[in-house]
Subunit: 256 residues, 2 copies
């Protein structure tokens, strides 16, 4: 028991252990319950940056779960970049400044982290005959039609990106029904997108896009083409996002 931590070992920590304990009634896996609760605790600032968490064995004993399970929960947070492990030394909170890591920080996530308020404005929503690209990438039959959605993405009122999505009409029969979140709508319709492939490349803004985005034609933009798949591995979403490079950049963390 390190003396330095004594102020945390009394009733303070007792109530904290309780907050981390798994619910008897819940059916979700123990390690997921614990990993979520621990993530909340970290975000709530229970520990300082670079401060060591309780050891895996301590978690195990205090929470009444096996060490393997506790460790598996920590694996999840490690994967998210929330914590780091030092062999023989301990498990540590990743400093906030270095946290924009994880896989690929994107879209509204980054904006929210930077403190912006994201919003969006519909430019058009309707039904169209698919382009050649859409037919191929969405695997459409020859006469099928697509729902096409186009909108501006704003942060604090400034246009940051233009987004155009196409979906087979069979999956989105009424484009007008989509609220502010396409993904949320697909969830409620029973066709959630669970996986997506994103191609990221650079393009010069064409006059149309430039006008809508409020930049000069020819300016470099990031063009992200996303293909979204359902759990059945069917491609049902093709989205192009033109991002203003002066407001947008992507951060990715690589490890060896």
């Amino acid at each position: 028991m390190a003396p330095l931590n004594d102020h945390l070992q009394g009733s303070h920590m007792d109530s904290r252990w309780n907050a981390l304990k798994p619910e008897e009634t819940s059916t979700t896996p123990l390690y997921l319950q614990f990993s979520r609760k621990l993530a909340e605790a970290i975000h709530a600032g229970w520990w300082q940056a670079d401060e060591a968490l309780p050891s895996e064995r301590t978690f195990s004993e205090e929470l009444g779960i096996s060490r393997v399970t506790a460790r598996k929960a920590l694996d999840v947070l490690l994967e998210q970049g929330l914590i780091r492990r030092r062999h023989g030394s301990g498990t540590f909170i990743t400093p906030r400044l270095e946290q924009p890591l994880s896989r690929l920080t994107s879209f509204t996530e980054m904006l929210k982290m930077k403190g912006f308020e994201p919003s969006s404005v519909w430019l058009s929503r309707g039904i169209a005959t698919p382009t050649h690209e859409e037919v191929i990438k969405l695997g459409l039959s020859p006469n099928a039609q697509v729902a096409r959605l186009k909108r501006q993405r704003l942060a604090d009122g400034v246009v940051m990106a233009i987004e155009q999505s196409s979906l087979p009409l069979t999956y989105l029969p009424d484009p007008q029904a989509v609220g502010s979140s396409l993904y949320a709508y697909l969830d409620t319709m029973g066709h959630p997108i669970v996986r997506a492939l994103q191609h990221i490349r650079a393009v010069n803004a064409n006059p149309d896009i430039a006008a809508i985005a409020g930049i000069k034609p020819g300016e470099a933009m990031l063009l992200i083409t996303r293909i979204g798949y359902t759990a059945d591995n069917v491609a049902i979403e093709l989205t192009d996002t033109w991002c203003r490079n002066d407001y947008y950049d992507f951060v990715a963390e690589l490890r060896r």
Copy 2:
């Protein structure tokens, strides 16, 4: 024993099991040994796309390792997108077409996958006084100097990218000593880079870069700024990579 697989269960599979068995002498963890060998086997085409692998229990018994260990090895390949699991059904090879997934496919990786032969040509290697950006991002002291390396990245003889790296002179005292791989050199010097943050954004090519890259000024390029960290979490590498957008694009897979 499914009759359909009988042709794989005889001597064929016997020799295969041996190829997957861990080495008695090796000190590397069992699950890593197995995961590597299995990855090789998959790339060697032991199984077809969408074909089921042997079950976790089968691997466990045949290889003399516990199921937990076998499963942990499979976790690694799952993470890489090489396999997929279907609860109650089995573990399956990911079709090649969908494999450019993983985290973020980049640089020479993608080229090699597409069958190109990567190479590089030095444009300059020397010592310089750091820019303001370098001082800040590398945390240099006021009078420190940097080693600066600049090169063309080619694939099958065509320029695909321009890369400029800066490192504190203390970590790279002799820029001329670097061979074809900066990372390999740093490894041998005892300062391996284990983690890197990459910022990806779009820029218009300036005349200098355009000339070297063989494109028109103003063309959109991907600019990747990478900061590489050692195990001690010290930033020792700052690299800008300008990528020709007609040859380069990044692919990332997202999951929910």
